[in-house]
Amino acid sequence: MAIDSTAETLKLATLPAPSRPRRHPLRWACSADIAVPLAMLSIILAGLLLPALYAMPEPVGGNILDADQPLLSPGHLLGTDANGNDILSRLLHGGRTSLLIAITVNLFGLLAGGSLGAMSAYLGGVADTIIMRVLDVLIAFPSLILVLAIARALEPGALDTIWALTFFSVPAFARIARAATLRLREQPFMVAAGLSGTGTWRVLARHIAPNIFPQLATFGLLGIGIAINIEGAVSFLGLGIPLPQPSWGNMIYQGQMTLSARPSLVLLPGMLLFVTVLSFNLLSEALRARWARQ
């Protein structure tokens, strides 16, 4: 959730600069702390791709005569909701939407925020001051409120949710990129690059970018979890993905109305969301621990 992002930023920003990972990708991935969340994520991703491969009931436009079927009913493995839509199909389609939004937001945040932070730190001076003050304002701003206000004003939908979430992801990435770049500036190879007359943009692209990327990517994994959470919150409050289109957040909201009668309507999307976010968090944590050890 939003509360974690600033503090996680703080935590990551205080790490020593990571060196390049070792060159054995397979062995590198084979310890349990990385392999387990990676495997969980692979299973979830494979599941989310399932509707593309197998014919499955549509997630919307179900027949009201099929409404409220229990778990394990014929044709509907996880039953149907109050509108007769297949729950499994809604879970998978909703997950795909949530994940796509979260990944887009973080990719954009990584690219835009990362370059902003790195440039700000490397160029220094007035530009740095201005950029950082603007980011201070954005960080001091309660992100959920901004996201809610923007989401409320724009038509509810995936694209607008992405747009709203970007407001919190860009400053977070910029902070981390800036802190990492400031540390790099002291390194001998950076001094050498400066002395040998390497151009500013070349230094940024060839020396800074590859060195701060691992840290940004590690935060990105965490950020995906945070974005899934916030997207869910916005959809839960009815301002994100509009019904009847499924998303985990609005499924939980819908299910909550019949919580005591049919808890599975809340528990299934809730568990799925929980496991997905947990996997991203565990993966990010494992990577962070690895960078810290090196």
């Binding site: 939003a2 304002v137 724009l154 005591s260 528990l267 929980f274 565990l282």
Partner: protein
């Protein structure tokens, strides 16, 4: 140990006359306070113009979908919404500086009164959640850090990661399902004011408090555990303490923990504003008449003065909390107090 108040008093003439500079901790706090002003200004500016630029208007929301454009325009004139944004912002700002935050567009009541009416519920909720999470996270972190990477530690870390990954809109329904549907121990919705009896009041806040406190608890535990382990591993004073023959628990609590509490304090300060904003969901699920509900309502009716006031309040609280943390640093750490830098 001197309190922040006495520190502030000592920042007076006698010290300056003696040629002593104020302590860096205080100067830091003063600096932070000054830097906070443009940030607060920026926050209000951003809120105002974001709310203004976004499509849709409060007048249209008030009149409903079938209002004619003429009716909407007439209401906008009456509410003063047709004036240029710059003018309205300046008007709002001059009011805000003198403590007048304007009137709600939807209900025409003073915003300060509306906020003041809702604030106590949210403050109580947040205070309870902070108390619960801090009270549990310190012992949990110590038990984990006592033997790093052993069973208790691993288990605590895994559980806390789980708690962190569980958003409140998942946790709250699960809590309701277990504790109010199945066990019928606590109410699933509703709020009893303290005037109805303190116990009643607390009873109605148990589930919401847990829903807010759990992620915080997990976060603080992880942070504190990491910091304590770091202290125990490399710091000279820990080596000295162990060499003197002080028992491991005593070193942990009296030496390492005392140092690690600084980091925790910073986090608490940082969390404060965001947390009040984060109660939106929990207040909605448990139907608590707090600030979050007011905010959500205001966002839905595009009642800009209320949103503006709440955002300002949260920003001020964040800044003040950080300021308090800076002063506490000075009170707790002699190096900062006496300027050993």
């Amino acid at each position: 140990m001197r309190t922040p108040i006495s520190l502030l008093q000592s920042f007076g003439h006698s010290r300056r006359a003696a040629g002593l500079r104020p302590s860096p901790g205080l100067r830091l706090a003063a600096h932070r306070g000054l830097v906070a002003i443009p940030v607060l200004f920026g926050v209000t500016l951003l809120t105002f113009f974001v709310l203004d630029l976004l499509p849709g208007s409060a007048a249209r929301q008030l009149l409903g979908a079938d209002a004619t454009p003429e009716q909407v325009a007439a209401l906008e004139v009456r509410l003063g919404l047709n004036r240029p944004a710059r003018e309205r912002y300046l008007h709002w700002l001059t009011g805000a500086v003198t403590g007048d935050l304007g009137k709600s567009i939807a209900s025409n009541q003073p915003v300060t009164a509306l906020v003041a009416e809702r604030l106590p519920v949210t403050v109580e909720l947040v205070a309870l959640a902070f108390a619960l999470s801090l009270a549990l996270s310190v012992p949990a972190a110590l038990f984990a850090a006592h033997r790093p990477n052993r069973l208790v530690d691993r288990l605590t870390m895994l559980l806390s990661m789980g708690g962190l990954s569980m958003p409140s809109y998942v946790l709250a329904p699960v809590l309701v399902l277990i504790f109010s549907v199945n066990l019928t121990l606590f109410p699933s919705i509703g709020f009893k004011p303290p005037s109805a009896g303190v116990l009643e009041n607390l009873h109605s806040l148990v589930l919401p408090t847990v829903a807010i406190a759990l992620p915080l608890l997990c976060f603080y535990t992880r942070f504190l555990r990491g910091d304590v382990v770091e202290q125990m591993n490399g710091e000279d004073y820990v080596v000295t303490a162990v060499a003197k023959g002080i028992g491991p628990w005593r070193v942990l609590v009296r030496h390492a923990l005392r140092n690690s509490l600084f980091g925790l304090l910073t986090l608490v300060g940082l969390n404060f504003g965001a947390l009040i904003g984060g109660t939106v969901i929990v207040e909605r699920i448990f139907a608590l008449p707090g600030l979050g509900q007011l905010l959500l309502q205001a966002i839905n009716t595009r009642d800009a003065p209320i949103v503006q006031a709440i955002v300002l309040l949260l920003a001020v609280v964040t800044v003040l909390a950080n300021l308090c943390v800076d002063l506490l640093y000075a009170a707790l750490d002699p190096r900062i107090r006496y300027g050993d830098r």
